[in-house]
Assembly symmetry: C2
Homo-oligomer: 342 residues x 2
């Protein structure tokens, strides 16, 4: 009996994987059918979002993370790793800008790693849905660690971060004062904070700024790790240490170009998983994750239904009235929806 495509994916066959990933990116009926069959086999992977502003060295960090996952300390199990790298900053390009860059030379030939780069197609809600689909494929195919790398700090990144169990926010020193304002939003989704380029001037300032921002939102003790050494913050009493029931985002420093601090990051990610499991938070996040995914798909389905329900002729007529400023855009939208019987 020939092996079905679904079975080939469940077996982790790379050619079948490559094929289904393209089908999902192109939103084909066949891809959605297979996703349907794969879904009951998901729910085992640890989904880790890596996000942050441009210029922080995220990609290099992700490469080192994947490498060190695959080369753990002697005697440890090397988990299989999938990377989904998303570049939503290129709404106009058909393909992924990063798709062709050579990633992780050291990992070439390692069958326990799979890297997929993807560009945004500019569709609202669509990017998060497509990413969710890719992640489900890797999950069903048995990848244990799935790294979801996003560029930037806008709404799209936040939506994608909501797909993850653990969100790592990467910062770097010297990106200007304005970025301090930016961080406030993204900080709230951070489970782990990383100051990359820890050897650059200003790294201490960046840590201090992050610590201050964190303490504004949650006045508990924060731990700072320098390349693996756990340090206590000055002037904070011992009894205020985080308990098992409360996760305080740790602040780590890394040097992605050399890989320093990356093994500590892996330990922190594992600690966070353990925390999620012990507190029942894992289940809660799973539920939120899936709810977000349903909501995103609802939006996408509604939009495609709308596109097929409104006749181009009617649409053009209404638009002409808007352009001549007889009808406001809002009234036009309402009339179109009513006309389409939606």
């Amino acid at each position: 009996m020939p092996v079905t495509q679904t079975q080939a994916i469940l077996n982790g066959e790379r050619l079948a994987l490559t094929r289904i990933l393209s089908q999902i990116e192109n939103n084909t009926p066949e891809g959605n059918q297979i996703l349907e069959e794969l879904f009951p086999h998901t729910g085992n992977a640890h989904l880790i979002g890596i996000t942050g502003a441009p210029g922080t060295g995220k990609s290099t960090l992700v490469n080192h993370l994947a490498f060190q996952y695959r080369h753990p300390p002697e005697g440890n199990h090397p988990p299989t790793v999938a990377v989904v790298a998303i570049d939503p900053s290129s709404p106009f390009s058909g393909g992924a800008l990063l798709g062709d860059r050579v990633r992780m030379q050291d990992l070439v030939g390692d069958s326990g790693v799979f890297v997929r780069s993807m560009a945004s197609r500019g569709s609202l809600g669509g990017l998060a849905s497509t990413t969710a689909g890719l992640v489900q494929v890797f999950d069903a195919a048995g990848f244990e660690i799935i790294l979801i790398e996003t560029v930037g700090a806008g709404q799209a990144e936040v939506d994608i971060a909501r797909l993850a169990h653990t969100t790592v926010v990467v910062e770097a020193p010297g990106l200007g004062d304005e970025i301090q304002t930016i961080k406030a939003g993204i900080l709230e989704i951070a489970d782990i904070l990383v100051v990359n380029k820890g050897d650059k001037p200003g790294a201490d300032n960046a840590i201090r700024a992050l610590r201050n921002m964190l303490s504004l939102s949650q006045p508990e003790k924060h731990t700072v790790m320098h390349h693996g050494d756990l340090m206590e913050l000055e002037g904070i009493p011992k009894e205020n240490q985080p308990t098992d029931q409360l996760w305080v985002p740790p602040i780590l420093t890394t040097i992605a170009t050399t890989g320093e601090g990356v093994s500590s990051l892996i330990e922190e990610i594992a600690s966070h998983r353990q925390y999620l499991m012990e507190t029942g938070e894992w289940e809660l996040r799973e539920q939120t994750r899936l709810k977000n995914e349903v909501d995103n798909l609802l939006q996408a389905a509604l939009l495609s239904r709308l596109n097929s329900s409104i006749s181009p002729k009617v649409y053009d007529q209404v638009l002409d009235q808007v352009i001549s400023r007889q009808v406001s855009p809002r009234r036009a939208a309402n009339e179109l929806i009513q006309g389409a019987g939606l």
Copy 2:
């Protein structure tokens, strides 16, 4: 006879303006009704989008732009200026992070300037629609120049940039290599490129990088202006100069902290407007702008319709089946839409 709120806005009364802006941000029926009445009075302002990555000094540049518009060379007409500053990086905060910052000390008391800061409310499509509403109010109220300032380079910023007639993309030296990749997408929406912090090391590199990226997409001559001096690029023959029929995005340098280069930027913006007018491109952009706005409002209206059509009980039941992995998210979305009769 008492003056209606709509009439007060058309008269440019500041209290009425403040009130309608809040109503639009909160998407109230009264606000939408007034917007309806204002719409026929729009279409006169020059809408200028200012966008770019965090840390480029955009806000300072916008402040100086507004100031210099209000203080033109002797004998020139100082246009009225409205600023809409959007911070979509803070999806979790209720109010605008930048709302309280003191902007444009020098402009305090100048009744020809109005500044409005706004945070994203995290609603897909909603941010662009709200921004469009604010811009229409300022347009109807007679503001001649409307500066739309956005932070970042994601999909939301691109959507907002689509509201503008002229899009200025701001860069700064020394934001790392990764940002070069980022730019590719945002570059395609740029009518004018500005390298701010022109006095910082690396400014020449930034100009060179931009020039290279531009020439990849459009192999014509690019002009570079240094604080107002028009320079020709090396090695490009004179006959390849841009004609009246082709707009080649100029690359300018500015020092926003001192205001250097800002008057040249104002001249370039005026040139771009003239180009749009002479080529008929202005009309085309108006049509595209309004089409995008109708589409955004269609999406927002559909979503709110969906929310009121699906019973919370049914939604929860379907979600439970997803969480227990009996039903895939996609099947759940389709079932919900069918059940709601949409």
